[in-house]
Symmetry: C2
Subunit: 173 residues, 2 copies
């Protein structure tokens, strides 16, 4: 790969010297869902790096062929074994130093079933008052839970927008 500005473009891209195909690198979308069943919400303890053993709500990279809301619901099922309906967007969290945008939703569980997926050591239902604020995996998870905590008794919620100012290469995404 060579770095060069393709014709008609305005910034350097990775270009294959053999075939001249331009490999665009773009930010990736993380979709996450704060999933609740009445007065309790789902928390997963991470089984994979980074931040093994720390708590999160279901979240992960959006895949091709799905909508953002479908992706958030898929992550909820894969990581926590919960079936949810996505209710609303809580916030949009940009992480420019990692090339990520996190779309964080509030979701309602269809029933009380939950089970740890491959990426979770354990999945628990917790009261809102018992969120382990000191042991959360990432700043975006804390931010999402703070929004969900604030939004949970409001019928109208305007999603927030923020961005991370943490330097690249830290665990603080």
């Amino acid at each position: 790969m060579r770095r060069e500005v393709p014709p008609g473009d305005n910034r350097p891209r990775a270009v294959c010297p053999a075939c001249s195909v331009v490999h665009y690198e773009n930010p990736r979308i993380v979709v996450g869902a704060v999933c609740h069943d009445g007065p309790r919400l789902v928390l997963c303890r991470r089984a994979i790096p980074p931040r093994i053993g720390f708590w999160t709500f279901p979240a992960g990279f959006m895949e091709l062929g799905e909508t953002a809301e479908e992706g958030a619901a898929r992550e909820a099922f894969e990581e926590a074994g919960v079936h949810v309906d996505i209710d609303r967007l809580l916030g949009v969290y940009s992480v420019p130093q990692r090339g990520q945008v996190h779309l964080l939703y509030e979701a309602r569980m269809r029933d009380a079933r939950h089970a740890a997926g491959e990426e979770s050591l354990e999945v628990v239902m917790r009261d809102w008052e018992d969120i382990p604020w000191e042991d959360l995996a990432f700043p975006s998870i804390r931010w999402g839970l703070e929004l969900a905590f604030e939004a949970r008794q409001q019928s109208l919620w305007v999603p927030r927008m923020t961005s991370s100012s943490a330097p690249a290469g830290t665990d603080a995404n």
Copy 2:
């Protein structure tokens, strides 16, 4: 490239047979801004395919190293020569058949300057009542303008979420 399920993953990815590097393909983010200066808004006539000659507000692929809002403001400057402040999110439009998520914002122009960028044949200021609804470039542009039209006199706006149901391979993104 070979299609195979990498260890610990649950779906086929493009894997290099020589070096085993997994090339993840993920949805891309389109950031757009309905830019207004009081009673008028910015419209650009596309100079590039697809849909050359049709109207749009500034929008394009988000780049690495920027927040979503910065990306929307950058597109406004690159395509229409306008300096804007991003006010709020209008809506999130998923296009699963193209692997895209469009984040569409409302933006306020800092002054009346505007000028066609390389991707625009012309850039004009139009009254809200004079939007060329029949000559818009894409369904997502129509949707964004409809939201902006509805939102423009509301102090509180809850962003909408929708998705395209158009088949892949059409111009209807």
